[in-house]
């Protein structure tokens, strides 16, 4: 572990913490423009976090310690996840400690805690949300793993930094297996980040809620942490996508000066990705909860086809 590695690792976590609400704000802004609305400020997310942190927390009477600890755990998991995914540099000391499979486990860990916290109160909405979250989670996870395996079959590694390095150094070719995996990953990340068509992050209708039903009882600083964690999750997922499919422009081992250029490249890539996400969300309608399994089964199938294509064509 070198000092430059440690520096890029810390810088990456810091950039994730700062940039994540901005990405969410940007997606919201694009959505508003596409819906012919006047868009909120790009900084609205920061203001909302600040407001929530300053407010008092209202906790349900029956809530146990688990309910109050869960936001910290979820936030911690998402912070760590954005430290594992290479965003600015592939010189990350944390990378050998946790590969892509551990990353999926980390997301699952956060999911279990947020669901437990939702059930802790004992109201119908909490367990409704927990139930639906688990339904989506157990379908999305294998699909995500298959996507990651497709990439790791090409690069012969499950470590995200090695995947990024290997893919970035090859000459530009479109891998057919990665093309399938890319579509599968888009579907999975829509479901995992509670976006339309699986869930609507701005919904106020309790009956259609998934993620919002989970966090219905949270307020004040706990809600701020959860919202921040949700932004971090979107950020981490976007960066996994960028690592697997557009890994160019990252700093590498032995050249920390590239970090200066890596940040604007990352911001540009995220801006384009966020605009595309907003476009997908605006163009599609929210589907019924029992259509979601079909949606995610399609993702799983596409990812498996990607792997099969790799074995058939060797690319």
């Amino acid at each position: 572990m070198s000092w430059s590695g440690l520096f890029s690792q810390l810088l990456e976590i810091l950039v994730a913490l700062v940039l994540a609400p901005l990405v969410t704000g940007w997606v919201n802004q694009c959505r508003a423009w596409l819906q012919n609305k006047s868009a909120p400020s790009l900084l609205l997310q920061y203001r909302m976090l600040r407001k929530l942190f300053h407010k008092e927390s209202v906790v349900a009477e029956h809530a146990s310690q688990l309910f109050r600890t869960a936001p910290y755990i979820v936030f911690g998991c998402m912070t760590m996840a954005s430290g594992i995914v290479p965003t600015l540099s592939t010189d990350l000391p944390l990378s050998p400690a946790a590969d892509a499979i551990a990353l999926v486990g980390l997301f699952a860990f956060a999911r279990v805690f947020i669901s437990l916290a939702a059930m802790d109160i004992g109201t119908a909405f909490g367990s409704l949300g927990a139930r639906r979250e688990m339904l989506i989670g157990f379908l999305a996870e294998p699909a995500l793993l298959m996507v990651l395996f497709s990439a790791s079959l090409i690069t012969k590694s499950t470590s995200l930094t090695s995947i990024a390095e290997t893919l970035a150094h090859r000459e530009f070719v479109i891998y057919p297996s990665l093309a399938f995996a890319g579509v599968a990953f888009t579907l999975v990340s829509l479901a995992e980040n509670a976006r339309v068509p699986v869930d609507n992050p701005t919904t106020h209708l309790e009956l259609t809620m998934i993620h919002e039903a989970l966090i219905l009882e949270y307020s004040g600083r706990h809600l701020a942490l959860i919202e921040w964690a949700a932004s971090l999750k979107l950020f981490a997922y976007s960066c996994i996508g960028l690592t697997l499919f557009f890994p160019w422009g990252m700093a590498e081992v032995g050249s920390p000066q590239q970090l200066i250029l890596a940040l604007p490249v990352l911001v540009l890539k995220l801006a384009i990705g966020g605009a595309i996400l907003a476009l997908i969300e605006t163009a599609s309608a929210k589907m019924r909860i029992f259509r979601v399994p079909e949606f995610l089964a399609t993702a799983f199938m596409l990812a498996v086809i990607g792997m099969l294509v790799h074995f058939l064509l060797g690319a």
Binding site: G76, T79, G83, A97, I101, M134
Partner: protein, 216 residues
């Protein structure tokens, strides 16, 4: 069965946790998970001897070569996992969240009734059960099972809900075989009339048949 939540019956309000000795029984399982999760390299060594005997290959040597805290089954470039580093960094990010909240914002906390969505008469009987929790997944895999669901009508005096889950294979494979065996057994059972005269007749017929066979 309810996961967390509030007691659904009056007598359950006085329910208490099991004694500490009973709970300590669980600790063994927890400890097993922790050891497996945090020290996989050390666990793989004894298991490696088993795989050596079964398939003639042992993972322990490659795993041990990378040090005691890094699990890399083939090589560090292929796949690696350092559970202790993972735990330490995870704990550090958890405390980062606490520091952000506790140091920057010393927020107050107030207890209130949970959100009832405009229906204050909700009680503990209305909360979800384990049945409800598994329902979406069960419904998704519905075609794989033979389910009979008994739904109460809205006018039932004492509504009851029941569901029985059966295996398709039980009806498609095992039950036909069982029925066939039973039918054959029933035919065989006809031979056993339970009268000594009939049995003597069987012996007699067998004897004659054998004699005829030997003679031929």
């Amino acid at each position: 069965m309810i996961f967390l939540g509030q007691p659904r019956e009056e007598k359950l309000a006085r329910a208490h946790d099991a004694a500490w000795l009973e709970r300590a029984g669980m600790l063994w399982l927890v400890a097993g998970c922790l050891v497996l999760g945090l020290f996989p390299v050390q666990v793989i060594e004894p298991i490696g001897q088993v795989t050596q005997m079964l398939v003639g290959h042992n993972l322990a040597d490659t795993v041990r070569a990378n040090g005691w805290f890094l699990l890399a089954p083939m090589s560090v470039e292929r796949a690696s996992y350092a559970p202790l580093v993972f735990l330490v960094v995870g704990a550090a990010s958890f405390y980062l969240a606490i520091i952000i909240v506790r140091v920057l914002y010393r927020g107050r906390l107030r207890r209130a009734v949970p959100w009832d969505c405009g229906y204050p008469a909700g009680n503990a009987r209305m909360q979800d059960t384990a049945e409800g929790f598994g329902q979406p997944i069960r419904r998704m895999f519905g075609p794989f099972f033979r389910m009979e669901i008994k739904l109460p009508s809205p006018f039932d005096e004492k509504p009851s809900y029941g569901v029985t889950i059966d295996d398709h294979f039980w009806h498609w494979i095992y039950l036909p075989i069982a029925r066939l065996t039973e039918a054959v057994a029933k035919q065989v059972g006809r031979l056993q009339q339970g009268r000594i005269a009939v049995y003597l007749l069987y012996s007699f017929v067998t004897l004659i048949a054998m004699l005829v066979l030997v003679r031929l």
